[in-house]
Symmetry: C3
Subunit: 262 residues, 3 copies
Amino acid sequence: MLDNKPFQLVQATPFIHHVKQQNPLVHCITNDVVQNFTANVLLAIGASPAMIIAKQEVESFVAIADSLLINIGTINSSTAKSMLLATTQALQTQTPWVLDPVAVGGALDYRTEIVRQLLSLKPTVIRGNASEILVLNGENGSSKGPDGQNSTTSAVHAAKALAQKYQTIVAMTGDIDYITNGNILYSITGGDIALTKVTGTGCALSAMVAAFIANSPDPLSATASACFMMKKAGQRANKQQGLGTFAVSLLDQLSLFNSLHQ
Amino acid sequence: MLDNKPFQLVQATPFIHHVKQQNPLVHCITNDVVQNFTANVLLAIGASPAMIIAKQEVESFVAIADSLLINIGTINSSTAKSMLLATTQALQTQTPWVLDPVAVGGALDYRTEIVRQLLSLKPTVIRGNASEILVLNGENGSSKGPDGQNSTTSAVHAAKALAQKYQTIVAMTGDIDYITNGNILYSITGGDIALTKVTGTGCALSAMVAAFIANSPDPLSATASACFMMKKAGQRANKQQGLGTFAVSLLDQLSLFNSLHQ
Amino acid sequence: MLDNKPFQLVQATPFIHHVKQQNPLVHCITNDVVQNFTANVLLAIGASPAMIIAKQEVESFVAIADSLLINIGTINSSTAKSMLLATTQALQTQTPWVLDPVAVGGALDYRTEIVRQLLSLKPTVIRGNASEILVLNGENGSSKGPDGQNSTTSAVHAAKALAQKYQTIVAMTGDIDYITNGNILYSITGGDIALTKVTGTGCALSAMVAAFIANSPDPLSATASACFMMKKAGQRANKQQGLGTFAVSLLDQLSLFNSLHQ
């Protein structure tokens, strides 16, 4: 059994600073619902988003990008093909990449099969909710679309097993976030329930992880730092006015996050 | 001639409450412009959105969803196929579904033909503006894209005829909303002109209707309740700062809507 | 060498007023990231957006639209086909149209070839950043995806050459905006760096240009007026709260822009 180490602001700070300094170019092949929010979140933290999706273009763009995000939320035959081309290229050019296996499992056999293929292409990080992580580990998750409802603490074993099996980092986020490479297990508490009531906060976090692992010598801590930043911004964001204002304020807090003094 | 019955807050309240309690899973196949806003509106009222669009996945997802939204705003060959598969499945599994026939008629023959096929698959509710309802009833609407300009009051006859012909509920929204099953006609006044100056308020209302009719014993009143809630939120939202703030405030008001005390 | 004439509010005012009066129907075939923001920007300035993308529909819709926007940001085989059909129609019906060549050049050969075809269909205006304008003129831009980093002043020669070669108007925006038809050169200073930190401000500006040139007897001044309006709204928007609030406030400022008194 691995020790569960709380991940702290002091650990996150240099990684947040690194993103702002490096301004990484993050190639995103993500779902139709969250493209705008994802791009704005990346800009807010100091990264540079590029949504390039044509099968004719993804390979050459992966080669110049600093990292890649693959999110299967609204996958179809055309985007699936682009995702497989891009990740095959990423494996070859050693471009770090993040897999967000949105709503895998349950009734959705097509994406589940695509995810199986993507896993063989060695994602640097898998970022998902507890249901998705359970499914990837061959267990039953709650199959209710993108908003899975299993608790993360009950699925830590699956996160570890998955990390070990695929030699990857698993970031399982929810009430408590767990980030593990199979040897070390970080946990992050905090955040706010309102984060689950705005679409795309998880998807945008996956994009943040992609930004954080770009050119990073320590992708495990980089991944935990992205999760920490999102939880903290969610805590700081204005919850008094309703969910519209909360979403705007979340972007505000991400953009104002001072990596040196907070 | 049917009586025109004003629909009131006291009637809407239990239906608004029902959505929050049930947290219905709403399968959305909608247009590219409004996906994010639609998902956030559904989350704000307590429903759970899922945008599943691949032809390989829509049938099995309809089978587990509580309701389905079909919006043809940015229809193309690929999404048209998914829409026909999904609604054929909905008819078989008796999953209630809403048709939003965006910009039907006029110069746009392709979508007009697809809508004809969709109508044969028995939508539970058709939600459109006056131009769209007139077109579906075989009359001329103003064919200027998504923002039709006919008055709803002048098109009530078309709404009734359409409801009777297809044994469906028609929610025709605009200056005054009219909701009818061909026997009963509800009307809702109020709202705000700013609702027409933010993209996707009509599309998101169609998604709300889908959430409201999920597992509802009274889909007519459920539909009227969704329309009522949107008009009321539009009235309450902040109009002083400009249209950006209005859109954010609209989401705020939807999320703060207290189904018991307002 | 052309004179560089500063473009002023007094020149922009009648064009801003014209859009509000005419309420032009702007047909947009644009990228997936900015569809919602673009539609809201067009509504905010008084235009009417319509995102019609199916290859079956674009030609007949161009014929009724007042202007057309082509933005290649997330181009793929399907949208490329629609873009070529739409612009071929626009040339035939003399519908004014704007080309936004997002991220052309660099690693992205596919879009570069499509842009070459689009250029032969006589865009009324090309709106891009300095990198994109340099690439279109056969020079090297910084090939880092949509956020090019060349200065506009260093690329004025390319904007002029491009305008002359294709008998078009070039609006090259950035730190200073330059708008030229090859004979006259307008410049606009001001704006705010935050405009580069919100996704889609450039793309939405291209849509604004499409709205401004609709039924305009002076497309050069109309184009400069759109650029002026965006820069001024960016200046006026709230930068104190962070990037989320800035984006909302930008829409506010566009919607509140008083064409007669500011």
